[in-house]
């Protein structure tokens, strides 16, 4: 199976690249790379669905808002994302809209939470629509 994401060195925070055959797949894998800094998504039972809709004036802002949802759901709903499914990105009049379904669990005590992602940044962000689609993100941890 093709590599989904990879962590790169960053002095103070965490940098990763996520890949996909499509933009949607790369966004889903960016979600996996983000949650893998906090818990092991393969261990989290997929007991609950959290639909998500975010808009962005460009793809970069869309990505920041999308990954920001993961932090928000964890901090305010104790919801641990295991996967981002059925992800679609569509063009709108003023940018882009993303829809996805986060699958995961809201019983954090069952899992080892070993890291904290505090914010998604634009620092060194790249969205390369080549083949494969490559997304690079630095998150504040």
């Amino acid at each position: 199976m093709a590599e989904k994401f990879r962590y790169l060195d960053h002095t103070a925070d965490a940098k990763f690249q996520a890949y996909g055959r499509t933009l949607e797949e790369a966004f889903s894998n960016a979600a996996l790379a983000t949650v893998s800094l906090m818990w092991d998504p393969t261990e989290v039972e997929q007991t609950l669905d959290h639909p998500v809709v975010v808009q962005g004036r460009d793809l970069e802002q869309l990505l920041v808002r999308f990954l920001g949802e993961i932090i928000y759901l964890f901090e305010t709903r104790a919801f641990l994302v295991a996967a981002a499914n059925e992800l679609t990105v569509e063009k709108t009049d003023d940018g882009f809209r993303l829809r996805a379904i986060f699958r995961g669990d809201d019983r954090p005590a069952r899992y080892a939470v070993f890291g904290e992602v505090k914010a998604v940044t634009y620092s060194e962000m790249r969205i390369d629509l080549g083949c494969p689609v490559t997304i690079q993100v630095v998150v504040d941890i």
Partner: protein
């Protein structure tokens, strides 16, 4: 990048291209090496291009690459032509440090050290996803965002003396929750009174060296071996959300064209959006002051329980090191109001500034510089020269040199605990992975950082403290 050596510790990037002012870096040649290896200098140069910047873009001795501004970046902007930038404050608004002194000597707590740390670990919620005090209502949270540590003291957490010994007296009056998003409030509700994770810590320390006996005495330190407590944390998810929200609002309103880095997005200070960010940032500052106030109170409770008394546990001071403020500074021979950004930098006002508590005013402001986990921390004093050298600012810590990823490859948390134990330092943490990431070898040498601060004159050495017990989130 072209860098001119001015003295052993002062380096300058001359004005060039779009730069409106030069950039000055305070560093020894050793510290400069690590700064040259990342984007710090480029980021200092980008800051020098921002509208309304005054005199100089400054880089403190512990600087490293940040988002937009470097960590350790200081810049002041004209109130009419200048800007305010969330990237100039950082995501963890009012990340800061509080230092308490005690009447205990090292030997008084020697037998109870482990118990003290264990009890503190029970009382102070830390780590990822750990909740704080009983669920706050939104109205109470709004009150906290308006009144900061004052709210905490009025509700029985600590004393009015604590407020006197806090930067801004524990409250920025411009904090207005009306400009803080629902999402930020939601993130703030479960986290008040929590230490968090990452580089945040709580330490029981002992004084290991006194550089200035007179000043140390004024700050409450009388002897080597005296027990101290240091608390390092910030505004948690609430502050992060305020930063994210206003980066997005500014992008949507002002666009991102022409920015060398999207994290440098900014708004004119006096514009509605600039003012909304400022008031929202002040509200997050207040949250962080309340947060440290609660934690300090619980630490005193533990000392009272374990040691029989918390008498004498007075607050030396509490400093912010991620903040933007409106301050008066001397620029081209005139006193002017500017919007100063200190991102990973500590205010270091010299004698006479009215912002300093009366008890310290004749001497200068205490500056607290935390080291990395298990290493020394320092108490410094602000200087008169700092006004001209750095708009009264100095370093804020050790500053990372190694990625967390690399640290994880090289160290194991349990091994670090054992090594600290050999040095007589107890360690408690919610995560061994977190301990490995924060290994002191991943940081610059804090001794070197404060030496540069002292030699340059932007903050002078008063006392050195070392940990005897470390609690990490």
């Amino acid at each position: 990048m072209e860098l001119q050596r001015k003295t052993d510790f002062i380096w300058e990037i001359p004005k060039q291209g779009e730069m409106k002012v030069p950039a000055t870096i305070y560093a020894s040649s050793r510290l400069l090496e690590s700064v040259r290896n990342d984007l710090t200098l480029q980021q200092a140069r980008n800051v020098a291009c921002l509208p309304g910047i005054q005199r100089m873009s400054y880089v403190m001795p512990d600087a490293h690459q940040g988002y937009g501004f470097p960590i350790g970046g200081v810049a002041a902007f004209d109130m009419d032509e200048g800007i305010i930038s969330p990237g100039g404050v950082g995501y963890d608004i009012n990340c800061g440090v509080r230092l308490l002194r005690t009447d205990f000597a090292e030997q008084d707590i020697a037998a109870r050290r482990k118990e003290l740390l264990t009890e503190i670990f029970k009382e102070v919620p830390a780590g990822v996803g750990k909740g704080g005090i009983t669920r706050l209502s939104r109205n109470v949270l709004r009150d906290i965002l308006t009144r900061g540590a004052e709210w905490a003291v009025e509700n029985g957490y600590g004393t009015r003396d604590d407020l006197l010994m806090t930067e801004e007296y524990g409250r920025m009056a411009d904090g207005d929750p009306a400009y803080v998003s629902d999402r930020a409030l939601e993130r703030g509700i479960p986290q008040l009174g929590t230490l968090g994770a990452g580089n945040h810590f709580l330490e029981i320390q002992k004084v290991s060296h006194i550089f200035d006996k007179d000043l140390a005495g004024i700050f409450g330190i009388s002897a080597v071996g005296q027990v101290m407590v240091m608390i390092h944390c910030g505004s948690r998810g609430l502050g992060h959300q305020v930063a994210s929200d206003y980066i997005e609002l500014m992008e949507n309103k002002l666009g991102t064209k022409g920015l060398p880095d999207r994290e440098l997005i900014h708004a004119p200070i006096r514009s509605p959006l600039g003012q909304q960010y400022y008031r929202s940032m002040c509200a997050a500052v207040n949250y962080a002051f309340a947060n440290r106030q609660l934690i300090a109170h619980w630490v005193r409770d533990v000392f009272a329980k374990v040691m029989g008394s918390a008498k004498g546990m007075r607050q030396v001071y509490d400093v912010c090191h991620n903040v933007a403020k409106i301050e008066k500074h001397m620029i081209a021979g005139k006193t002017r109001e500017v919007c100063i950004h200190r991102k990973g930098a500590t205010r270091s006002f010299g004698p006479g500034r009215m912002e300093i508590p009366e008890a310290y005013r004749a001497k200068g402001q205490p500056v607290i510089i935390p080291g990395s986990m298990g290493t020394a921390s320092y108490l410094l004093v602000g200087t008169a020269e700092a006004e001209e050298l750095s708009f009264s600012s100095t370093a804020h810590g050790a500053g990372r040199v190694m990625s967390r990823h690399e640290a994880l490859r090289r160290f194991r948390g349990e091994q670090i605990r054992d090594e600290l134990q050999k040095k007589g330092i107890e360690l408690k943490s919610t995560s061994w992975k977190g301990v490995a990431e924060e290994a002191s070898a991943a940081y610059k040498d804090v001794d070197e950082v404060v030496r540069v601060s002292h030699e340059v004159g932007i903050g002078r050495l008063v006392a050195r403290v070392v940990p005897v017990g470390v609690m990490k989130g």
